[in-house]
Symmetry: C2
Subunit: 506 residues, 2 copies
């Protein structure tokens, strides 16, 4: 097993200047002006005083990401309430050469939503109106600053659900979700978020309002430009409004957690789940024994329901079935479990008998990021990658091996099996070991992923963290074309600079 | 009901120069060179003699679309077998200023895949190798010229299905499907084709090979440029290879056709189907009484299984359920039918008891385009639009009203109810009435669709037919951005000119 990665680490790194390491060597782009008193006054005239934040204390929450890993030094945050506001702001900033970072719920993990230097912060949080749900088509129109959970509750009242769910749902915003093409645990059922975005309004870097706010599911009239905005992480403009096609909510949901005793059984388990659960399979999530132990140890409100051993081969898999007929769901689930036991794919399992129990099982899965944060107070290195499932365990094992002599460093992994998406996490308790741990893991992680044809960012995006590492997942020509498009749509480069693509001027 | 469209027709047309009318007033772009003997020789050196077609008889099939509505005058068609071939061809053409039209199965309905003048035809039909199916992830990699049905059969043998199905499956090619973001009857279950394309290789207009051939489902590393190519109808480059995520094939499929006696019952029927069939609903297709009658009358191999009356309020709806458990499917289907009868949403129905019967029901739906062609030998006007379901019947009624005094003109409609996608068809038997019929219907169709927030091309694309009408579905700024991107990626404008976007130089 180990041979395959060893040859990778011996290979010359494809990326000669690893600027994604501990302190990215990014220089402030000198083309950008600093915010002046006259600028502040201009913004107050556009937005009113209350929506212009310049107080240092108030600005802290906007300048720092929730992992406390990236910290900007912006002197101003704006909270527009309308598309027209955003348009005026962008027009002004483009004219005055002020760099702008759009910010949603600020729950990203790659430093994409906070300033790197003194970029103006454009917070969408006051654009939080849900406009309309078409109860026949299930298409909801909304402003971009609406919190995901609020949107899900809103459409839920009419029998629909947002085709996206993730741990940060209580604070992330739908505009940010779309700007980063968020993945999450419903991906396996509903596909990528970009597939459900049927309409979009966005403000381009020069202030022009790009209006593609259709609410029909099929529209093949020209290039689907909103797809460019989806996943551009705010570097091509600011998403202000959205129309999202929502599927009907299933009337019956079953949740179970099973204990898998060998990493080699994960792939056949997935295949069996797809076969026997078929159309009711709505989530299949992986948690290795280390992450389960970290949650069990560090968090009082969750526990391992199956008390799995502390052994890297062992893991828990959470499976959710959602359908329109409770009996059918249960029959499929039982047939699946029976076959899984018969084929010795699972050793034990627990099925939630109530919504409360179901929530408890999900709570374990969703608390893992928090558990890791608590396990490593000094720093957490997070890698969100796509690799074939067969490589999940190998990656975790090798990562452990690489940092094991550093003492209090805990490595664990979890992810979305159906999407081949692994979240590799490294919790470091001693701050002085952070850089060493990172040097041991990077560029190894990126080389490994690239070597097996995966993606170095499955669902978190590139942000500032991985902007310099794009070459591990995208070829030179693709990057050139991206840069061409960025340059032609954001002529002055003011829109979320230093993110996604590094530029030659930096 | 009629009031709403009347006000629309009175409004000033948004598009002042309707170049989509009978004979589009397109001028050949004088920048493009004509094919010389030296060019032919150069292509022979790249491809070998057999792959360079210059014989007038052989060229006919490449120059004319299958509706016999659009006819180019190209003097050369090339059949490359590798990406390298395509790259060399495009580099040569870009250098020599030769315009190129990429062509797949040539089954499009908007004239997108045939030359308008003497563009070189680049046929992908010899790039027809299926490369690999990953049996764990269900991702298939393939060359672009593979016929859809062949691809479906290939993955079908391993228990998967291509998430796309349409009437032309026996001849359309997957590259063309992706280039036009084809819709079809599986859209309601699997969403847009673009959601399932995980990897792409394409040759840019200047010959550079854009390699994004990943096979992982999640990849958020920079702008998703392949999304730009999807639906660009070959105007931004030539798709050469693809990786497509396939869902597992359902082990049990039930097909039924029901008789709906009033157009107002279609929306509640769809809602009921979504609720009671839930996750097993895999197609829900509409056929108005006129289209059913046309098929029944003009085609010997299909018939109306429920003998519905010749009344515009009446229609047939085909419903397919696909799942992993035959009993569950059937129970859901029966519960649905019971409720549908109880709520008086359907008057009659027939359920296929065998695969043969199921094929017969589908055959009726898929033969409608052919039936219309036979009904109107002189010409058929086809409008593929997205509008809320409530407008389906109104559009058909008004269209009938507008052309009823023209004699032998038959109007009918069918479509994908779950996607709000209506195919309005007008069969004209007398060639001299064609232009009059078209003038009565255009720009009315486009104005109507625009007025209700729909799309003037739901799944067929713009091609040459609707290039000038883009303004009905897209705003000026969106069109400007499209043009900006086209100009920067295809500097010489050689890639499928006169399609999708008209240019100022024309």
């Amino acid at each position: 097993m180990l041979a395959s990665f060893r040859s990778l680490t011996q290979a010359a790194p494809r990326f000669p200047h690893p600027r994604f390491l501990a302190q990215p060597a990014i220089q402030r782009d000198s083309r950008f002006k600093q915010i002046s008193a006259a600028d502040v006054q201009a913004f107050r005239q556009i937005l009113g005083d209350a929506a212009v934040i310049t107080n240092a204390d108030d600005l802290t929450a906007f300048n720092v990401d929730w992992m406390n890993r990236y910290r900007g030094a912006s002197t101003i945050a704006l909270k527009p309430t309308s598309t027209d506001h955003v348009s005026q702001i962008m027009q002004y900033c483009n004219h005055r050469l002020l760099a702008v970072v759009p910010q949603g719920g600020n729950t990203g993990l790659v430093g994409g939503s906070v300033p790197v230097f003194d970029e103006l912060i454009l917070s969408l949080s006051a654009m939080n109106q849900i406009e309309h749900l078409d109860e026949t088509s299930g298409v909801v129109t909304t402003q971009a600053g609406v919190v995901l959970e609020a949107l899900d509750n809103y459409v839920g009242a009419a029998g629909y659900r947002v085709p996206l769910d993730l741990g940060a749902k209580g604070s992330c915003q739908i505009g940010g979700n779309v700007a980063t093409n968020a993945g999450g645990s419903r991906f396996v059922r509903y596909g990528p978020l970009r597939a459900s975005v049927v309409g979009m309004e966005a403000v381009l870097p020069d202030g022009r309002v790009f209006d593609a706010m259709t609410t029909v599911r099929k529209d093949n009239t020209g290039y689907d430009l909103k797809q460019l905005m989806i996943g551009a992480e705010g570097t091509l403009g600011v998403i202000t409004r959205l129309a999202i096609a929502c599927p009907m909510k299933s009337s019956c949901v079953d949740t179970m957690v099973v204990h898998v005793t060998s990493s080699e059984r994960i792939s056949p388990l997935l295949r069996l789940a797809r076969q026997s659960l078929g159309e009711v399979l709505s989530a299949i999530e992986y948690m290795d024994s280390s992450s389960v132990r970290m949650a069990d140890t560090n968090l009082s409100h969750v526990s391992d329901p199956l008390s799995i051993p502390d052994d890297p081969q062992h893991s828990l898999v959470l499976i959710e079935c959602a359908g329109s007929n409770a009996e059918h769901n249960r029959e499929k689930l039982e047939a699946f479990l029976e076959a899984a036991f018969e084929q010795e794919l699972v050793a034990d399992g627990v099925i939630a008998e109530s919504e409360t129990q179901s929530n408890e099982l999900w709570e374990l899965r969703e608390s893992l990021p928090e558990a890791v944060l608590k396990a490593g107070a000094a720093a957490t290195l997070k890698y969100d990658v796509s690799v074939p499932i067969a490589h999940f365990n190998e990656m975790i094992d090798v990562a452990k091996e690489r940092v094991k002599d550093l003492g209090a460093v805990q490595v664990c992994g979890w992810g979305h099996i159906g999407d081949e998406n692994l979240h590799l996490n490294v919790a470091i308790q001693d701050d002085t070991q952070k850089d060493t741990a990172q040097l041991r893991l990077e560029p190894w992680v990126y080389e490994y992923v690239s070597g097996v044809g995966g993606s170095i960012s499955a669902e978190h995006g590139l942000g500032v963290m991985k902007a310099g590492a794009i070459g591990y997942s995208k070829g030179d020509i693709a990057v050139d074309v991206m840069r061409t498009i960025k340059d032609v749509l954001d002529v002055n480069g003011i829109c979320n600079p230093y993110k996604v693509l590094t530029t030659s001027s930096q």
